[in-house]
Symmetry: none
Subunit: 205 residues, 4 copies
DNA sequence: AACTAATCGAGACGGTACGTCCCGTCTTAGA
DNA sequence: TCTAAGACGGGACGTACCGTCTCGATTAGTT
């Protein structure tokens, strides 16, 4: 299955009449926007492809020409609309960046994006292709950021050496996803700060 | 399905009382067993209620009379067949019990039970009732065990005071569930031991 | 299939305590009465065996012990409760008896009994056993009465000879059943009288 | 199912207009044909909607989109496939046409079409909508033909005046349907001819 | 009066068909 | 030539009712 078929706009040099993105790009965005709004409001299961096509003012074929199924579509909606907003913030010291980043992520999890992420992670349990996509396009980039920060923190002397940084990353992300999926507790500022504090207690240089 | 024959009650001490579970109990178990075998072997999505009913030698209505949907059924299969096997082991010191328990849990996650837990946790993202059931019947009892152990460890002087034990529990379970769902790494003995080690580094008295 | 199992009351000589019919006979009548009331009021299809058993205050097994299915039960309800009421009336001349009998039959067809007869005749199209029962216990006895009357009318000189009396009977009953089933016209006194008149026009001696 | 290919339109006179019924029409016919074959061969009750859909190579929804239940479907199969074949024949005199028509109808009743008509008339006893449909689309058109013939016969002087022609029609059709449903006798040529003869005896001018 | 055997109501059971839903593909008419 | 609209094959769903079977309680007849 070709999971995500990115539109291949082949005529960038001569946009015949309209200026700006070609129509197909506008259609793509309309679909992604409709998807995001419907899914974040009413949930992944409750939304059908027909509803998405209807809301986007598009035929179902037009949707399936671009995404092979609902999960792939929601995956793109997440990556395109939400992804950029979780870019890693900057700060003087690495640990400060880490804190900012976790708090940012937590804020997203509380909002409508949380619904998308939960849906995708859930659906991925039944769909190996989606699981791979989700890992590669969502999980790994964010883990990479944290791993890098942790590495810098070691170099900066804020974190002791000898720590397994992969597992350290699990220790930071794991509890947040756990709460997202299980709902065993809020994902608020206090939680993230305490979590980070208790994490650092054991790893500070 | 082999029914229990009540006619050959050989227990001499209570002759006037029928022994052997009533038929309805045997039916229930047959359904749970069929569910567990099918779902752990081929996955939640791939299995239909008809297949379960067929394998259990039971009409579909008999299944629906007891469970309102597939998720509720699998939830019960987990609680009934798997739950008892993850009872908390005993050991001299609390930290030793904690280690044993996490390793035991990890071993289960690697086996066929992992499939059930992933399926249920995934399905729970779309079904609020199931989510509640899963929390109350699976998550909370196990968290309670860990919380208790951590409390004892503090009393025993193996863990420093002032730690938020709820969040500490998240720090222990979170990364394991995270790997279960995301598949970002194995859930083997090394992982659990390192995880526990890095956790304790920050909390030892 | 043993279609209709008539209860075989084997102790007519010594009803030990209660006077009158034994209980099993009372149960039988309660079931027949419940059947008649429900079916004539709401129709054959709309009524389930559970409803009949409930209304009769009886377990379903008790119904099935006596009748093999709903059609057999309704057949008995017809024969037992309605049959006697359509006995052939007496009159001086045969043609007068014929007229009275047809008018009587028509009156029954208009009432709640009509629903039972329609239901049974309809169900008989799908159930060969019921079809046979219906013919033998309902149709043929009434045809026999008409045939006999027609025979007497010939002897009495009111009907000419050389008429195929079987087909003559079809000519009398056919149009009435036709209207019952098709609803193409009322089955009132005028209809029956005109029908009989136009029939006799061709057959009078 | 062999679909009609619209691409090889070879008719030169109307090149811009697509020829060949649209797919939806072909589907409709495939379903009606499958229905007719199955029901006339094995009976109304024995056939399920799944079997019809399977034989027609069609999803069940496609059947239900066009017909609300099995009875409506069989009704259409009768009207579409069988109806035209019972058109009124021509003859010099009206009474001759009447005879021919009744014999034709009788022949149909003996064949596979008889099963459909019996099934529908039976089912109509439980379904008011079907009853109306059956009357309006099957019964009334054929009655109208007979009524017209009888009227002409009166004009031609072959039938006496003063006869209630509606009831006369009942007298002709009634006995035939009666035998069809009750099976009290064959519906052969002799029966129809005798029936007609005994009918005319009373109504000839 | 106590015991046994039969019978009952209640309703669970295996099974079959129903009619609905949504997926992902295919067709059609019109722009 | 492309698209919206939506029909289509497929397959699972959850429901209804059939006719059978189980169960504990009640009754009937016997000891």
């Amino acid at each position: 299955m070709q999971m995500i078929r990115r539109t291949s706009n082949l005529v960038p040099t001569a946009p015949h009449k309209k200026i700006g993105r070609p129509r197909s790009e506008a259609v793509r965005e309309a679909i992604l926007r409709a998807t995001f709004e419907l899914v974040s409001a009413r949930g992944f299961r409750a939304i059908t492809m027909d509803q998405i096509a209807l809301k986007a003012g598009v035929g179902k074929m037009t949707v399936y020409r671009r995404w092979s199924n609902k999960a792939a579509l929601v995956m793109d909606a997440l990556a395109q609309l939400v992804g950029p907003a979780t870019a890693f913030p900057s700060a003087a010291r690495s640990l400060e960046r880490l804190s900012k980043q976790l708090l940012l992520q937590a804020r997203f999890f509380r909002g409508p994006y949380g619904t998308l992420i939960r849906s995708l992670l859930a659906e991925a349990q039944f769909d190996e292709n989606l699981a791979r996509e989700f890992r590669e396009r969502w999980i790994i980039p964010r883990r990479a950021g944290v791993l890098e920060i942790l590495g810098h923190a070691v170099e900066e002397g804020d974190l002791k050496t000898g720590v397994d940084l992969e597992i350290a990353t699990d220790q930071l992300y794991g509890p947040i996803y756990y709460r997202l999926l299980i709902g065993s507790g809020k994902i608020d500022r206090t939680f993230v700060e305490t979590l980070l504090q208790q994490f650092l207690d054991g790893h500070k240089a």
